[in-house]
């Protein structure tokens, strides 16, 4: 990437993607609560389109680059350099398009098509951040600790990063720039949850494995096995709750709960919640405000039993 680094004071553009406005509603609501408390504004990209995730690229490289490029172009038209997304799939496909658009021939070809369809063209100058990285970079564990009024004391949380949060670094630049997370051993979520007063399980084998969500419908065995593995390994490591950072992962695990129960027994099951729901609780928001009841794995019951209002 050639351009200058984004100003540290810039309000980044926010790319919600389909999930945050739909299946990931609890993530969206709790994310806004957390960002508001921390004084970290984001400006929503209106009239965005779906990023194409990992599916479109298997049919057409150019369409898979054009879809995210349109969103990045909208952010650039808003005058923003940093684009924040909350979904690992979105981070991946936006960053992948960024990488492809570094090639002048590709950039010319894609931009010609975008123009033809009345969409803005993309200059290739956006920087992509997962919302987890954004919170960690701007507020840091110290800023988070200062906002905590109801620490998650004695709650053992397994941070689950899933697959596409940081990898591949050739797209996301995670680990290649100062102040970014570690692509092999990510720790930003560990730090933020610790700052919330939780007892964080730093090492368990499923921390960065795939949830199988990409094949949730086309290869059920695999998606159930991976979802079960996340819960099982977290439980074996002593977790009370699993914290997720991706709507696809959260939804895939929760969609498989009944199958996991049948295949592996109820003792494998654990409540699963978006990390922002847990942070909102720690910031003194109620179980209701954090929308914990929307989760099918019912973390609301767990936290109420632990005395959270």
């Amino acid at each position: 990437m050639s351009g200058t680094a984004a100003s540290p004071k810039e309000t980044p553009a926010y790319y919600p993607g389909c999930s945050m406005d739909g299946l990931g509603k609890a993530y969206e609501v709790s994310c806004q609560l957390v960002l508001e408390t921390l004084g970290l504004p984001l400006d929503r990209i209106e009239e965005y389109n779906c990023c194409g995730a990992t599916e479109v690229k298997n049919l057409s490289h150019d369409v898979s680059v054009a879809l995210p490029s349109r969103n990045l172009a909208l952010a650039r038209d808003m005058g923003r350099q940093t684009v924040v997304a909350a979904c690992n799939g979105c981070v991946y496909s936006l960053a992948r398009a960024n990488d492809a658009m570094e090639d002048p021939a590709t950039s010319a070809r894609i931009n010609a098509r975008l123009s033809e369809g009345g969409a803005p063209t993309y200059d290739g100058q956006a920087e992509i951040r997962h919302v987890l990285e954004y919170i960690r970079q701007r507020a840091g564990p110290r800023g988070v600790r200062a906002a905590v009024t109801a620490p998650l004391k004695g709650v053992r949380v397994a941070p689950y990063y899933g697959c596409l949060y940081s990898r591949p670094k050739r797209y996301t630049k995670v680990g290649l720039e100062p102040g970014r997370d570690n692509p092999e051993n990510p720790y930003f979520l560990d730090e933020l949850l610790e700052a919330c007063g939780a007892e964080v399980i730093h090492d368990y084998p499923a921390k960065t494995i795939c949830c199988g969500g990409g094949h949730a419908l086309s290869d059920l065995d695999v998606s159930v096995a991976f979802s079960a593995s996340v819960l099982n390994e977290a439980k074996r490591a002593g977790a009370d709750v699993v914290a997720t950072i991706c709507p696809l992962g959260q939804i895939n695990i929760e969609n498989n709960l009944d199958r996991i129960r049948q295949a592996y027994g109820p003792e494998v099951l654990l409540p699963v919640a978006y990390f922002t729901q847990l942070m909102a609780l720690a910031f003194g928001r109620s179980v209701r405000e954090a929308r914990l009841k929307l989760n099918f794995s019912r973390p609301d019951l767990f936290f109420r039993a632990r005395g959270f209002a």
Partner: protein, 243 residues
């Protein structure tokens, strides 16, 4: 002879007590591979994969196996025959007869991208493996997989309005697979998602403003790409299946 994990070798002979010319060679020397010579290698596949934007990095592979060592399908799911290093090697050799044995396996990559992250040579392994799978499918070596059908249903659904309609996608895909719509717990989940404003489908489906102008351009790009990858196939392998 491709480099192969022992467990993948066909024609492996093991003997607990083996004597060669009167000498006992059992123990460390009890395994032999039946001799074979391949003369029907065909480089069309690697030429095709290299020509696709998704497969362009295939030549960089130096067969270290880092991709396979970390592959979640190979290691975590335990599908031993899911071996991206081997798929790439067979494609590089043009040994498509051996590759055909994995026709039901290649499509199962879940795109976690650990291989792309770790490849020391910058091979986009995940996309290269998908390209190999596409070649097998386009040449009729592999049937169209559920993942291929899902990618298509997903892409069509997205291109219709710019925003994915998950419930619509679920219905289209499940119906296409000949599965019945959910009952019991799954139906209750669906209804709850609908009632809590988490599914926007049917008349509630979301749409990107201005999409009407971009949609035909993207659909043309898609059909051009789908046509081009068929045109690129070697002439002596007539493309099978529909357009």
């Amino acid at each position: 002879m491709p480099i192969v994990e022992k467990s993948l070798v066909e024609g492996l002979e093991r003997s607990e007590s083996l004597q060669v010319e009167g000498i006992d060679v059992s123990g460390d020397w009890n395994t032999f591979i039946a001799s074979r010579v391949h003369t029907d290698l065909d480089l069309s596949i690697v030429d095709w994969v290299r020509g696709q934007p998704q497969g362009a990095t295939i030549d960089r592979c130096w067969q270290c196996g880092t991709c396979t060592a970390g592959c979640c399908m190979h290691t975590d799911y335990g599908l031993e025959e899911f071996n991206p290093r081997y798929f790439i090697y067979l494609a590089q050799l043009g040994y498509d007869k051996e590759l055909a044995r994995y026709a039901q396996t290649v499509w199962r990559c879940v795109s976690c991208n650990k291989c792309v992250e770790r490849c020391p040579k910058g091979v986009k392994v995940e996309e290269v493996v998908h390209s190999i799978g596409t070649y097998l499918e386009l040449t009729g070596t592999a049937p169209k997989s559920p993942a291929d059908r899902f990618d298509e249903a997903y892409t069509r659904n997205l291109l219709a309005r710019g925003i994915l309609d998950e419930a619509g996608l679920f219905q289209t895909f499940e119906a296409g697979e000949g599965r019945t719509l959910p009952t019991g717990e799954k139906l209750r989940m669906g209804l709850r998602l609908l009632l809590t404003g988490r599914l926007h489908t049917g008349p509630l489906a979301k749409r990107t403003r201005g999409w009407g102008r971009l949609r035909p351009v993207l659909e043309r790009m898609l059909s051009e790409d789908l046509a081009r990858r068929r045109q690129d196939l070697p002439a002596r392998l007539p493309p099978k299946g529909g357009p």
